[in-house]
C-alpha cells in the first residue's frame, strides 16, 4: 500500500513538474505583459512536433530536443515581435480571440506539414525500461522527467532571484510602469521572456512526446491545466507556478487513484464507482474555484 502511494506520488510529481515547464512561461507573459496567451499550448505542440521530426531525421533524441527548443524560441520571439506586441494594450477579449485564432492556424499548419495522424517519438532505448528504486520498479524515463523538472525549477529560481535579469523580470511582473521608468528596455525584456517561455514549452512537448502522443490538439487540454496552475499560484509568480503545478499534479493523480476506493468505504459500490471518477476529474477545478473564492488573486500574487 505504501509502495502504491509512493508510486502514485512520484507520478503526480512528474505530471506536476511537466505542467510547471508550461506554467512558468505562461505566468510571466501573463504577469508582466498582462496578456492572456491561449497560443501557449500551440508552442508546446510545435515543440513536440519539431522534436519528433528532428529526432527521426537525426536519430538522436538530444539533438531533437535541442533543435526544438531553439527553433520554438525563435518562433516565439517572432510571434511576439510581429503580432502579440500589438495586443498588449488591448482588452482581454481581443487577446483571447486573437490567440484563439493562432491555435486554429497552428493546428492547421501542423496538419499540413506533418499530417493528421499522430507522430511517433520514442524515448532513447536506454530509458525505455524500468529502474529499481528502493525495492520497486519505476520507469526510467519518468524519473528523467522528474529530474529535468527539478533542474529547470532550480535554474529558474536562481535566474529570477539572483540575477539582474531576474530582478527586472520580477519588477516587471509587480509594476510595469515603474520598471520602464527605471530605464529597463521593457520591449526587449518582453521578447526575451516570451522566447524563453516558448523554449520551455518545447522542452515540455519534447519530453512528454514519447510518453503521450505527438498529435494535433495536444496543446489544448494541457493549456487549460497550465492556466489553472497559474491562477492558483497567482499570476506572475514563478514560485506560485511551481506550488500550483505540484498541487495540481498531486491532487489530480492521487485523486484519481485514491478517491474511488475512498468513496467505497462510505457509499455503496455502484454509487462510488460512478461518483469516484467524476469527482476525481473535477477535483482540480474545485480546488481552483475554492482558492479563487478565498484568495481572489491566487496564493502568491505578484502584484502588490
Amino acid at each position: 500500500m505504501t509502495q502504491l502511494i509512493l508510486e502514485q506520488a512520484l507520478n503526480g510529481l512528474q505530471f506536476g513538474l511537466m505542467l510547471f515547464l508550461l506554467a512558468a512561461g505562461l505566468t510571466l507573459v501573463f504577469g508582466i505583459m498582462d496578456m492572456i496567451n491561449l497560443a501557449h499550448g500551440s508552442l508546446y505542440m510545435v515543440g513536440a512536433y519539431l522534436a519528433a521530426a528532428v529526432t527521426q531525421a537525426s536519430g538522436s533524441f538530444m539533438v531533437g530536443i535541442g533543435t526544438a527548443m531553439l527553433v520554438t524560441a525563435l518562433l516565439g520571439a517572432l510571434l511576439e515581435v510581429s503580432l502579440l506586441r500589438r495586443l498588449y494594450a488591448r482588452d482581454h477579449l481581443a487577446q483571447v480571440l486573437a490567440t484563439f485564432a493562432l491555435i486554429l492556424i497552428a493546428n492547421e499548419v501542423v496538419r499540413m506539414i506533418w499530417g493528421a495522424q499522430p507522430m511517433l517519438l520514442n524515448a532513447p532505448e536506454a530509458l525505455s525500461g524500468p529502474v529499481s528504486l528502493a525495492g520497486f520498479f519505476y520507469p526510467a524515463y519518468r524519473l528523467l522527467l522528474i529530474g529535468v523538472g527539478v533542474l529547470v525549477a532550480g535554474l529558474l529560481y536562481l535566474l529570477v532571484s539572483h540575477t539582474r535579469l531576474g530582478m527586472w523580470v520580477r519588477a516587471g511582473a509587480s509594476n510595469r510602469e515603474m520598471t520602464e521608468a527605471l530605464g529597463v528596455n521593457v520591449r526587449l525584456l518582453f521578447t526575451a521572456v516570451f522566447a524563453a517561455g516558448a523554449a520551455l514549452c518545447a522542452l515540455a512537448g519534447a519530453m512528454l512526446g514519447p510518453l503521450l502522443a505527438v498529435q494535433v490538439g495536444m496543446g489544448e487540454s494541457i493549456l487549460i491545466l497550465a492556466f489553472v496552475v497559474i491562477v492558483i499560484g497567482g499570476i506572475g509568480s514563478i514560485r506560485g507556478a511551481l506550488v500550483g503545478s505540484l498541487m495540481v499534479g498531486l491532487v489530480d493523480t492521487l485523486g484519481r487513484a485514491a478517491l474511488p476506493s475512498l468513496l467505497r468505504e462510505f457509499l455503496s459500490p455502484e454509487v462510488a464507482s460512478s461518483l469516484g471518477p467524476a469527482l476525481a476529474s473535477i477535483l482540480i477545478y474545485v480546488l481552483m474555484a475554492a482558492i479563487l473564492f478565498w484568495r481572489p488573486e491566487g496564493l502568491f500574487p505578484a502584484r502588490g
Binding site: F100, A101, R111, I224, F227, P277, L279, F293
Partner: protein
C-alpha cells in the same frame, strides 16, 4: 460605441431577412435540397446561442469563457427528460431553460465576485467542472453523450418534419431577437451597458451592480439553455463536446466576427462561420487557417466585427 440604438433602417433590413428566411424551405424543397433546411435550422440555433453570449459579453461586459456549460445543460436536460419519457416540448424546453438559468445563477453568483482575468478563468473552471462531471457520469452517457431518439412533441406540430422544425427554430430566434432589441433599449439594458462602460461609477451612483450583472448573466445562460434544447432536437445527440471549452471559444469567435454588443452580431457571426465551415471544408480541409486569419484580422482591424463595419452596431456619431 456607447449605448445601443437601433435605427428604423436596421429594422426594415431585419424584417426583409425574416421574409427571405420564411421562404427558404419552400425554395430548397423545390430544388430537392432538403438538406439545407436542416442546415439552416442548425445555423439559426447557433445564432441563438451566440446571441445569448453576446448579451453577456457584448452588453453586460462580462467576458465569460464558460458559456458552453449552459448550452450543454439545455441539451442534456432535454435528452435526460426524454430518457425518462418526458418528450413534450412544452414541458422539456422550459425546463431546459430553467436548468440552464439555475446553473448560471449558481456559477454567476460565485464568479461575479472576481474581476478581469480571474473572471474569465473561473467561468472556464466551472464549465470544465460541468464537462468532466457529465463525461464521468455513465448514466448520462459519459464520453458517448446521450442519444435523443425522437424529437420533442409540440401539440399538433410534427417536429420530426425538418421544415416544421425549422419554422419553430426561426420563430424562437425571431422572438428572442425582438426581446433583445427591446431589452437593449429598456432601463435594464441601459444599466448593464453602462456597467460595461464604467462599473465603479455605476456603483457610486447607487446601482446594485452585482445584482444587475447576475441577472444579465442568468438571462444569457437561460437563452443558451434554450438553444441547447433546440440543438439536441436538431442533431439527436447531447454530446459532451457541446460542453467543451472549445465550444465556448467558438461562440466567442461568432460574436466577435459578427459584432460584440450589437443585437444582430451573434446572428451574423454564426451564419458566417457555419456557412464558411459548410462550404470551405469541401474546397480545402485546411480551411480553418482562413478562419484563423479572418479572426485575427477582425480583432486587429475591425474590433466591432462585421456589424461594426456596416455600421449596424452601437450608435455612432
Amino acid at each position: 460605441m456607447g449605448l445601443y440604438a437601433s435605427s428604423p433602417r436596421r429594422r426594415i433590413a431585419a424584417a426583409m431577412t425574416l421574409v427571405a428566411l420564411l421562404a427558404l424551405p419552400w425554395l430548397m424543397q423545390s430544388l430537392d435540397q432538403g438538406f439545407y433546411v436542416s442546415l439552416a435550422s442548425r445555423v439559426l440555433i447557433f445564432a441563438l446561442a451566440a446571441t445569448s453570449l453576446n448579451l453577456v459579453i457584448g452588453f453586460g461586459g462580462m467576458i465569460s469563457f464558460g458559456h458552453a456549460a449552459f448550452f450543454g445543460a439545455g441539451a442534456y436536460t432535454v435528452a435526460i427528460l426524454a430518457e425518462s419519457g418526458v418528450v413534450s416540448a412544452a414541458l422539456a424546453w422550459p425546463l431546459a431553460l430553467a436548468v440552464a438559468a439555475l446553473l448560471a445563477l449558481l456559477i454567476g453568483a460565485i464568479s461575479l465576485r472576481t474581476r478581469g482575468v480571474y473572471f474569465i478563468m473561473i467561468t472556464l473552471a466551472f464549465a470544465q467542472m460541468v464537462f468532466y462531471l457529465v463525461v464521468s457520469l455513465k448514466s448520462w452517457g459519459g464520453d458517448d453523450g446521450l442519444l435523443l431518439l425522437r424529437r420533442s412533441t409540440f401539440g399538433s406540430l410534427d417536429l420530426k418534419d425538418d421544415t416544421t422544425f425549422y419554422f419553430v427554430v426561426l420563430a424562437t430566434l425571431a422572438l428572442v431577437l425582438l426581446a433583445l432589441d427591446r431589452l437593449a433599449h429598456s432601463r435594464f439594458g441601459r444599466v448593464i451597458q453602462s456597467i460595461r462602460e464604467n462599473e465603479t461609477r455605476m456603483e457610486a451612483l447607487g446601482y446594485p451592480v452585482f445584482s444587475y450583472k447576475l441577472v444579465c448573466f442568468v438571462i444569457g445562460g437561460a437563452l443558451a439553455g434554450l438553444a441547447g434544447a433546440l440543438l439536441v432536437n436538431q442533431s439527436g445527440l447531447a454530446s459532451p463536446n457541446l460542453l467543451h471549452w472549445m465550444q465556448s471559444g467558438t461562440l466567442m469567435v461568432m460574436i466577435v466576427i459578427g459584432g460584440v454588443g450589437s443585437v444582430f452580431g451573434g446572428v451574423v457571426g454564426a451564419v458566417l462561420l457555419l456557412l464558411c465551415e459548410e462550404f470551405f471544408v469541401e474546397i480545402s480541409p485546411h480551411w480553418q487557417i482562413g478562419l484563423g486569419l479572418l479572426l485575427l484580422a477582425v480583432v486587429l482591424w475591425a474590433p466591432l466585427g462585421i456589424a461594426g463595419l456596416f455600421g449596424w452596431g452601437r450608435s455612432r456619431e
